[in-house]
């Protein structure tokens, strides 16, 4: 971490986005994480994605659990409200927040200990309910704040810093998310900004539960030889299925060429993709699960957008709630009044 505060002055020529904000308007306090931490790269990617999408920062609600990753909402979108909840319990709070106000953009930040160990149950249920959100797990396979214990995503046979071998099978959050019905599932790597920024942008535009498992090496406790979550190991074994650019605009602006297009949300938001794996079908959930397992057996870390349902339904659709955020409803809409109560009394005599 640095002890230097950020300068208050902005560069006069800083680029401004469509709603008049600079990149700096999407930043916040200085990170207190270790120098070189993968999580800071994720924060930077979130800042970049929100800036490029012209999102008003205060319309984002950022929620997190406990752990190094869950500290990061303090380091981006300073104008947004944050809820730094309990260890493993952020998904329930986010679910409630989303029910209360469907008009905000929900950004969930968690870690592998938070979502795959203590909070596995809550993670599973927020995914299966289809809560409209972008859920990012900064996945480093290790506990940082308590100094180097394995988390549930640590690969079997990977070595801890002091040489201990992990004997347990890993929880693969991507496979789980697919199985549990997430409508946008991706894996990325904090060291691959080119891939991560468009993925976050696409996730933010998605109309349902979007999940990104972002491998984010821990420079303090899990970046050594024998680790399968080190920068070096991930770079060597990373296999992206579909590097892509995100293009906003009506369908007629598309560039035919080699680009295949995928609708993320609405007809006017398009995802342009260069297809590397011709046989990879983004909309086939079962094929995605098989592909992941096959590549995993081959020792490869598959990254990219792995599954997309172009017509997601979210929890509000399931619950048939009104279009107006529940939190905006007033006495007139909510309280039936004295006459109705008198009538109700009449049925109880």
């Amino acid at each position: 971490m640095t002890y230097l505060p950020k300068p208050k002055l902005h560069h006069p020529d800083a680029t401004v986005n469509a709603i008049g904000f600079t990149r700096r308007d999407y930043e916040s306090a200085v990170s207190t994480l270790c120098a070189g931490c993968g999580h800071d790269a994720i924060s930077a990617a979130i800042v970049q994605a929100c800036f490029e999408l012209d999102l008003p920062p205060h319309r984002v609600a950022k929620l997190s659990g406990i752990g190094c990753s869950s500290k990061t909402p303090q380091y981006f979108l300073g104008a947004a409200h944050g809820l730094n909840t309990l260890h493993g319990r952020m998904p329930s709070a986010l679910t409630g927040a989303n029910l209360a106000n469907r008009d905000l953009i929900y950004l969930a930040i968690s870690g592998d200990g938070d979502s795959a160990s203590i909070g596995l149950g809550h993670f599973a249920h927020i995914i299966r309910r289809g809560v409209h959100m972008t859920y990012i797990v900064a996945n480093n396979g290790v506990y940082g704040l308590t100094r180097g214990q394995f988390s549930a995503t640590a690969d079997k046979g990977s070595a801890g810093k002091r040489g201990t071998l992990n004997a347990d099978e890993p929880v693969d959050l991507v496979s789980l998310a697919l199985q549990l019905g997430a409508t946008f599932v991706a894996r990325s790597f904090s060291g691959d900004r080119e891939q991560l920024v468009p993925l976050i942008k696409a996730a933010l535009l998605h109309g349902g539960a979007a999940f990104i498992d972002c491998i984010s090496p821990c420079v303090a406790f899990n970046n050594h030889a024998g680790s399968t979550k080190s920068f070096e190991y991930v770079r060597e074994h990373d296999e992206a299925v579909n590097p892509f650019d995100l293009v906003l605009g009506p369908p007629d602006t598309r560039d035919p060429g080699e680009m295949a297009e995928e609708t993320v949300r609405d007809a006017d938001v398009m995802l342009r993709m260069r297809e590397r794996e011709a046989e990879y079908d983004l909309h086939d959930r079962i094929a995605a699960m098989t592909y992941l397992e096959t590549r995993r057996a081959a020792g490869t870390i598959v990254t990219g957008l792995l599954y997309l349902d172009p017509e997601p339904r979210d929890l509000h659709a399931h619950l048939e709630t009104v279009a107006e955020p529940l939190t905006h409803l007033g006495d007139a809409e909510l309280c039936p009044g004295g006459t109705a109560l008198a009538a109700f009394n009449g049925t109880l005599r």
Binding site: G82, A97, A100, R349
Partner: protein, 607 residues
């Protein structure tokens, strides 16, 4: 035995046999005749086949607590419990049984009147459908009772017609069953027996409603839009009722869409998390649970206390600990709620004494949670929540508006030079908050459980931590003026002692005052309705050398709170404790208090 409008009928059934609705029909028919009743379903944690009892106390004098001792009239429909049920009947009492199979004479008592009605045989002769044969047996005995107790059968017929409104084809077989029983009794039994229901006006305009239904309606009136819960007896009925009320009152007319969201969570950890997330975001949200759920919610409750997020929790208490006796009543979660969570925490509790007050306190809980920015518990119990109680009608002032407390709008933020989420601007310990998404550049903060300064910035500085904890205490002090004040009932003359009670003990206590007064024991009484305690609670204790504290738990939990929070000498507070899972009775209270007043050195008889 002879009695008019003053007796207890016990129905002994097998659960899952459809008896509860027939028994309730009987109770409501007595009410329709203007005679007060209290009805209690005593049931096992089971779906089908276990013994279950339904007790109806008919009391022209208006005593609504459980009377205690055995019933005066037993409707014995469960051979499994026959022996114990018959043995419990009061001397001179009446036994109504299904005489299709004659029972051996040895199983009867000589000091009771045995009334046989061949219920099964009558049903078999009348109905072809096996299900009807089974279910309508219950209506047959209600019919027989109507003759034996000289009840107005027209009231029963009207109730059946109302019950099956819209399902006309069900009315006729039910009315037929009613008359099968009634006609048989009139032809073969000495009608009326010594017990009779006589028309009265004692019910007045009171309503018959269970606490879960009433509290759920309070949530609708209080503006709750998000409910998250996990099924647990005895609180499940509260959420079921909320869903029912919402379908009726909360549908947007133009679209048919819902102005509410009810989510069955994966566990209680999630239910409270959903509530806190929704409340942080500006919705009024609640959960309903019981003791085990409260245990699971502990961590989040402390988080809400410390990050100052409103939340409303209904705790429908049951006998504990652990799974305890899930279908039996107790007041044993007081401490678990008052000091829920780790670290230094204290919570606001509202303690209604009947369904009407449960409605009122439910709606109030949302205002208090918003005003105080903290979790508020509404403490119900199984007896009040799952049984229909006779109580005053529910009332609502149409001029009332939701009080959202200190919430800054975008305009207010623009007009305020300095905003700090945890600054005590007004000196009452309550800071100002903003809802997420309010202002493009001002008023945002990160809510967290870790310590922070008045501006919401992370710090582990000791004095800043202490300042904040002191402010939270100041806020708790402020709460004393907001919560419902205790209700006093002076003896009206010199009193030998004071008595403090709360919640569903209320009806038994009212009756006990009469019994004790009859024995020359006059008591000043105070019904506590909330925690933190108002100053008047300590004053009441100060004004009496001896104060009985009547509770339905083993450890005298309210007494502990009084000792801890009011600095009272424990020796002045004498516990009167009932905790066997059945509702407390006036006879028990009167006996315990009288024994200690007359023989102060005698150790209390535990029950």
């Amino acid at each position: 035995m002879t009695a008019v409008n003053d007796f207890v009928v016990q129905f002994s059934n097998i659960n899952g046999s459809g008896s509860a609705s027939a028994n309730r029909l009987f109770a409501r028919a007595v009410l329709r005749m203007g005679v007060p009743v209290s009805a209690r379903n005593i049931f096992p944690s089971n779906i089908q086949g276990m013994p279950t009892w339904f007790e109806v106390r008919v009391s022209g004098a208006g005593h609504l607590g459980r009377r205690g001792d055995g019933p005066d009239l037993l409707v014995a429909m469960n051979p499994q419990t026959w022996d114990a049920d018959v043995a419990g009947l009061q001397p001179g009492g009446y036994l109504l049984y299904d005489s299709t199979k004659p029972l051996p004479r040895t199983m009867h008592r000589d000091d009771i009147t045995v009334l046989g009605v061949p219920i099964t045989e009558l049903c078999h002769g009348e109905y072809a459908d096996p299900r009807e044969r089974l279910l309508l047996r219950n209506i047959v005995y209600v019919g027989a009772l109507s003759a034996l107790l000289e009840m107005d059968v027209a009231e029963l017929e009207r109730l059946l017609a109302e019950e099956f409104r819209g399902k006309a084809r069900l009315v006729a077989p039910n009315v037929r069953a009613l008359h099968l029983g009634r006609d048989y009794a009139q032809a073969h039994l000495p009608c009326p027996i010594g017990l009779r229901v006589e028309r009265s006006t004692a019910v007045g305009d009171r309503i018959f409603i269970d606490g879960n239904t009433a509290a759920a309606l309070g949530c609708v009136y209080g503006g709750a839009t998000v409910a998250a819960w996990y099924p647990i007896t005895p609180s499940t009925g509260l959420v079921d009722a909320f869903a029912r009320h919402c379908r009726r009152y909360r549908i947007e007319p133009e679209t048919g869409k819902r102005r509410y969201a009810i989510l069955q969570a994966e566990d209680e950890l999630a239910s409270i998390g959903i509530v806190i997330g929704a409340a942080w975001n500006g919705a009024r949200a609640f959960t309903a649970t019981s003791g085990p759920g409260i245990s699971l919610m502990q961590e989040y409750l402390g988080f809400a206390y410390f990050s100052e997020i409103p939340a409303v929790v209904f705790d429908v208490q049951r006998a504990g600990p652990s799974t305890g006796m899930p279908t039996r009543t107790q007041q044993s979660d007081l401490l678990a709620c008052a000091y829920a969570s780790h670290g230094d925490t204290k919570h606001v509790l509202l303690i209604p004494d009947d369904p009407r007050e449960a409605f009122e306190f439910a709606a109030l809980a949302f205002d208090l949670a918003d005003r105080l920015q903290t979790p508020v518990f509404v403490m119900l119990d199984l007896d009040m929540a799952m049984n229909d109680w006779l109580c005053d009608p529910l009332v609502w002032d149409d001029a009332r508006r939701m009080d959202r407390g200190k919430v800054m709008t975008a305009q207010a933020l623009d007009d305020t030079p300095v905003f700090g989420r945890y600054r005590d601007v007004d000196g009452d310990g309550i800071p100002y908050r903003t809802y997420p998404g309010t202002h493009p550049s001002r008023g945002a903060f990160v809510s967290r459980g870790t310590t922070r300064d008045p501006f919401g910035r992370y710090t582990e500085d000791g004095p800043t931590y202490v300042d904040n904890m002191e402010r939270l205490l100041r806020k708790f002090e402020t709460a004393k003026a907001f919560v419902p004040a205790p209700v006093g009932r002076p003896a009206g003359g010199p009193a030998v002692a004071g008595v403090i009670y709360y919640g569903s003990t209320s009806p038994a206590m009212q009756e006990a005052f009469g019994i004790l007064a009859h024995q020359g024991i006059a008591l000043d009484a105070l019904r506590v309705r909330a925690f933190p305690f108002a100053q008047s609670v300590a004053e009441f204790i100060d004004a009496h050398d001896r104060v009985f504290v009547v509770e339905q738990n083993r450890d005298a939990q309210l007494r502990m709170l009084l000792v801890a929070e009011c600095g009272v000498d424990p020796s002045r507070l004498t516990p009167v404790l009932h905790y066997d899972g059945t509702p407390i009775t006036a006879r028990f209270i009167a006996q315990e208090i009288a024994a200690r007043i007359e023989h102060p050195s005698v150790a209390p008889a535990r029950r």
